[in-house]
Symmetry: C2
Amino acid sequence: MAGRKGAAKPTIADVAALAGVSVSAVSKVVNGRGSISAPTRQRVLDAAEKLRWSPSATAVALRGARTKAIAMVASRAPDVLAADPHFTVLIAGIERELAPADHGLLLHIVGEEPDAEERAYRRLAGERRVDGVILTESRVNDPRFQLLRDLRLPAVLVGEPWPDDPVTTVRAPAQDAGMAEAVAHLLDLGHRHFAYVSGPEDRVHTVFRRRVFESALAAAGLRPGWMMTTDFTPQDAAMATTALLSPKNASRPTAVLYANDTMAIAGMYAARRLGYDVPGDVSVVGYDDLPLGGVVFPGLTTIGQDLTEIGRAAAAEMFRLLDVARTDETPLPALAAPRLVVRESTGPARPGPGHSPR
Amino acid sequence: MAGRKGAAKPTIADVAALAGVSVSAVSKVVNGRGSISAPTRQRVLDAAEKLRWSPSATAVALRGARTKAIAMVASRAPDVLAADPHFTVLIAGIERELAPADHGLLLHIVGEEPDAEERAYRRLAGERRVDGVILTESRVNDPRFQLLRDLRLPAVLVGEPWPDDPVTTVRAPAQDAGMAEAVAHLLDLGHRHFAYVSGPEDRVHTVFRRRVFESALAAAGLRPGWMMTTDFTPQDAAMATTALLSPKNASRPTAVLYANDTMAIAGMYAARRLGYDVPGDVSVVGYDDLPLGGVVFPGLTTIGQDLTEIGRAAAAEMFRLLDVARTDETPLPALAAPRLVVRESTGPARPGPGHSPR
DNA sequence: ACCGACAGGTATATCGTTATACCAAGGCCG
DNA sequence: CGGCCTTGGTATAACGATATACCTGTCGGT
């Protein structure tokens, strides 16, 4: 019952035959290149419509044109991805630009082993599957940029690059604004003992935000607070928080900042589990402003960035690199700087440091 | 400094020239087809290695072979994706099978408009970009199966299909086991007033789980409880919960089940915000068992399923459909039925229904 | 009346790979 | 020793679309 028309997929030759013209004529019509009379054009269009024909992407790609596909390689362990929708939101933004321009997004999730990642890139480039690559999570001395350069694959990085890394980058202006605002907010509330729970050490944004964090404290005449490194999982964040707030820790922080929202949420409840009140005993700040932060209780104070817009901007930048005309000519709005979103997880510091639970 | 070798990408002809053989010989070596003497084979392999050559995916695809790419189309609004890592985990599982077999995953995130989705499929099929499609979120009278059949694109559905929908399906056995277990658990704890907060009505799993929920209650001689429909966002779940627990609601439920974990977490804190204790006043149950449920406080009791394994199984099933040999010959373990994971968000029902907050 | 320009097409080489058909040389058997 | 198989290759035609080169009328200008 389904598609009783001939079994095989139609080719440009079928369309030409049905329209009674040559294949060249069909090609010209669909690409608007030569000069074809209106009636002929219409016959071709009708024939294509009738046969449900559209040019084979592989044939077009082989002919030397573009693949019309962009790759994104995410190198995080599955259980990290399982907790944090960060990537999904970014991807949704990328797709918003790609889809209307008829480009596809080839997604690769590779483990954290570095050679697995390199192999993935080599395959992508060697097989000429994609026109470009969007990268995230820049690392210190990231080998990927040089690799992609060698492979002659255009690349766009989302987020902060290591200084002088030669790569096109998309990021909001005033990257440090959010963190600075958060520290100011907490200082206002009387906090003097801080901790920062970061992601892995090799991530540029870990190093970068840590630096902003420390200099904001230094500007207030405070020594850098506690620095905890995690693997980005909420479990690890909970463990780090438990260690920070342990009664054995004589100089417990009263304010803890986390590198993403899910870690902050995990930390917030780890504190509660220990008997601390949030924000009464400990103030908590996240990063990203994902929807979940708005519905937990207490609501999560966090540093917000519009990941969807950042994704769109990255895709648009890739199109610029590839010289692809965006379908929607209206320029994308400028990216907004990260901003502090104050909810309920931050509050006045209790007088005197080193207070105990209960 | 980068790649001072000739600028252009090497082709099979370059390899053949360097090895001093014909292109056919090279092709035979890399595909292991004809009979080639060991020394010749080695020279070819060395040449390929030296030039960093690998066969162009487009050329191979054009030749009539496979694209070596699978598509997955997710049709959820971006803000839903932003909250729920469900898809990311599934995708990670799919990739685990695809990557070693050198297959790519082409991801499309389309809005919820139904024609946008159809267009996406038509493009994928028309352009012959992928060998098959993995579907999720089966809908009632889902038009996609017939469409993909017409387009002759192999499809694998993840999750419960509408009865008699003609599609290859991957799902755990005893789909209703988890929900039944949860209801039994709550009955044991003395609960008699239930609510179910579901996703959109047109999703098959909404209808299906609702039915299991109702029949489990009926088996205990109870009338079906409250049924709330949401758009899957945590915000909507919070609103639904607030309505359920409103003092104006004379027959408030003492146990609420949610269609996913983020909704359950949102619901749990909506209840707390109203002054109810969880699990003291209200018990809460989620679905999926994502990592976050283990770190919130109180820990989320939820119906767990191994989404990563389900993703793997879907990819493996696709390979079976496409007649692609899996690289890892060891058969995948059978999928486990959804099971209740008891944490802290469920507890004994307070005597007497209709209790008030505080 | 003849030339050139132009509209409206057609024929064909090309992209990189693989499969089919083919071929040459050597060994084995009757 | 002639015929036939096997080994180790080579030449070439696809795959589907596009761009280049080419052809054929028709019209305008001189």
